[in-house]
């Protein structure tokens, strides 16, 4: 308890220093400073500066990949005459491409709404461990449930991978605005992709369609490899990847949870053993 209280105190102090009242107890900048805000400018704008840093981080290879992926999704919408605004809303609100494809694909094949809702629920189950593992970075100095829910909304594959890479190196007060900036940036890019796909879907040449579809798996393979540091990460990656084809026959959603929980637990146990070895 004492440790937690000390931590809270340190967080409060850190916050005060950001607001530009360097009292006698103002601590040194946190370790692993990511992109230090220019020292000369006044501090109150630092939140918006972190937001912009996050938005700029969205203009990256993962952002490009999302754009391309959502072009494909926009084409899917046109294919079944799904209304434009509702299609855009699905990107904004659902913000998980697999769930969106299940929804639109289900509607296209005349599946009932209840089975579609169940399939979406199962496919989005994977969001829970993703949000859980980013949550400690997204609390900020003062807890706010609404803000935590907003930060969590942006968590999907891309934000999860980029978040784990970038957030830990960032000072506490920069993490939430950075995450919101990254999320808003990527959402804007994806909305543009959805709209672009909706209006220019007509006839993509096969080689381009193949290329667009392959962007997600190739870029995520590389992002995950780049993000892996410890033995646990590598074992989890290998087990998740190798067990997925084995359970492919099982009905959607739970099979992947099986790979995740099984592979993740084994990776965690092996990693803990390695850490505790003298």
């Amino acid at each position: 308890m004492a440790g937690a209280a000390a931590l809270r105190l340190r967080q409060v102090r850190g916050r005060r220093s950001v607001l530009g009242c360097p009292g006698s107890g103002a601590p040194a900048p946190p370790r692993n400073w990511f992109v230090p805000p220019p020292a000369s400018s006044p501090a109150p704008s630092s939140s918006s500066r972190w937001f912009l840093t996050g938005a700029r981080a969205a203009l990256s290879v993962p952002g490009l990949v999302l754009f391309a992926g959502y072009i494909g999704f926009g084409g899917l919408l046109t294919g079944i005459d799904f209304p434009f605004v509702a299609g855009l809303l699905s990107t904004l609100l659902i913000w998980a491409l697999p769930a969106q494809i299940i929804l639109i694909g289900g509607l296209a094949t005349g599946t009932g709404l209840v089975p579609i809702a169940l399939a979406v629920t199962l496919s989005s189950l994977r969001l829970m461990p993703m949000v859980l593992s980013l949550a400690p970075y997204l609390r900020g100095t003062r807890r706010s449930l609404a803000r935590e829910l907003l930060c969590a909304h942006f968590v999907a594959m891309t934000v999860w991978a980029e978040g784990h890479r970038l957030l830990p190196r960032m000072p506490l007060e920069g993490r939430i605005p950075f995450q919101l900036g990254l999320g808003c940036g990527l959402t804007t890019i994806s909305l543009s992709g959805t709209a672009a796909g909706f209006f220019m879907a007509a006839e993509l040449p096969v080689w381009l369609a193949v290329g667009l579809l392959f962007l997600t798996p190739i870029s995520f393979s590389l992002l995950m490899i780049r993000g892996a540091r410890e033995a646990t990460d590598w074992i989890a990656l290998a087990l998740g990847f190798l067990t997925a084809p084995l359970v492919a026959g099982l009905s959607g959603g739970m099979d992947l949870m099986l790979c995740g929980i099984g592979g993740g637990t084994v990776a965690y146990l092996v990693g803990r053993r390695l850490r505790r070895r003298p």
């Binding site: 290879v61 209304p83 509702a86 809303l89 699905s90 609100l93 659902i94 769930a99 494809i101 929804l103 509607l107 005349g110 709404l113 579609i116 809702a117 979406v120 629920t121 989005s124 189950l125 994977r126 829970m128 461990p129 993703m130 949000v131 859980l132 593992s133 949550a135 400690p136 970075y137 829910l149 969590a152 909304h153 594959m157 830990p168 096969v206 193949v210 579809l213 392959f214 962007l215 798996p217 190739i218 870029s219 393979s221 590389l222 995950m224 780049r226 646990t232 989890a236 990656l237 998740g240 997925a244 084809p245 492919a248 995740g260 929980i261 592979g263 993740g264 637990t265 990776a267 965690y268």
Partner: protein, 114 residues
């Protein structure tokens, strides 16, 4: 067959059948994760599970593809991934380089196979 051609019906479907069933997991995670600390054992386990899960999702996209990718043989899909990783490792761990090389192998391979 559900008639989703009117904008408002479609919006309602998106919210009830798409948004709520996915967002519920994010909300539950926020509520369940409020007490979890970065670096705690529970955190390390959840992170390992999320990593394995994401790897499984990606493997699914490669091994059981959809759409036009079905026409590309499995060995070519795997070759693209291997080539992409090799380029990523060789060229300063650049994701862009890996993606470009993997995509080039795919497009050239698909073209060559006809």
């Amino acid at each position: 067959m559900i008639d989703f051609s009117s904008e408002w019906t479609a919006i309602l479907i998106v919210i009830l059948v798409g948004f709520l069933p996915s967002e519920i997991w994010r909300m539950l995670a926020v509520i369940a994760g409020r007490r979890m600390d970065e670096g705690s054992e529970a955190f390390l386990w959840v992170k390992a599970v999320a990593t394995a899960l994401l790897a499984a999702v990606v493997a699914r996209l490669i091994f059981v593809p959809t759409g036009a990718l079905v026409e590309v043989p499995l060995w070519l899909r795997l070759l693209c991934i291997v080539g992409g990783i090799a380029a990523f490792t060789a060229i300063r761990r650049s994701v862009l380089a890996g993606v470009v090389v993997g995509e080039a192998i795919l497009v050239l391979g698909a073209w060559w196979l006809g």
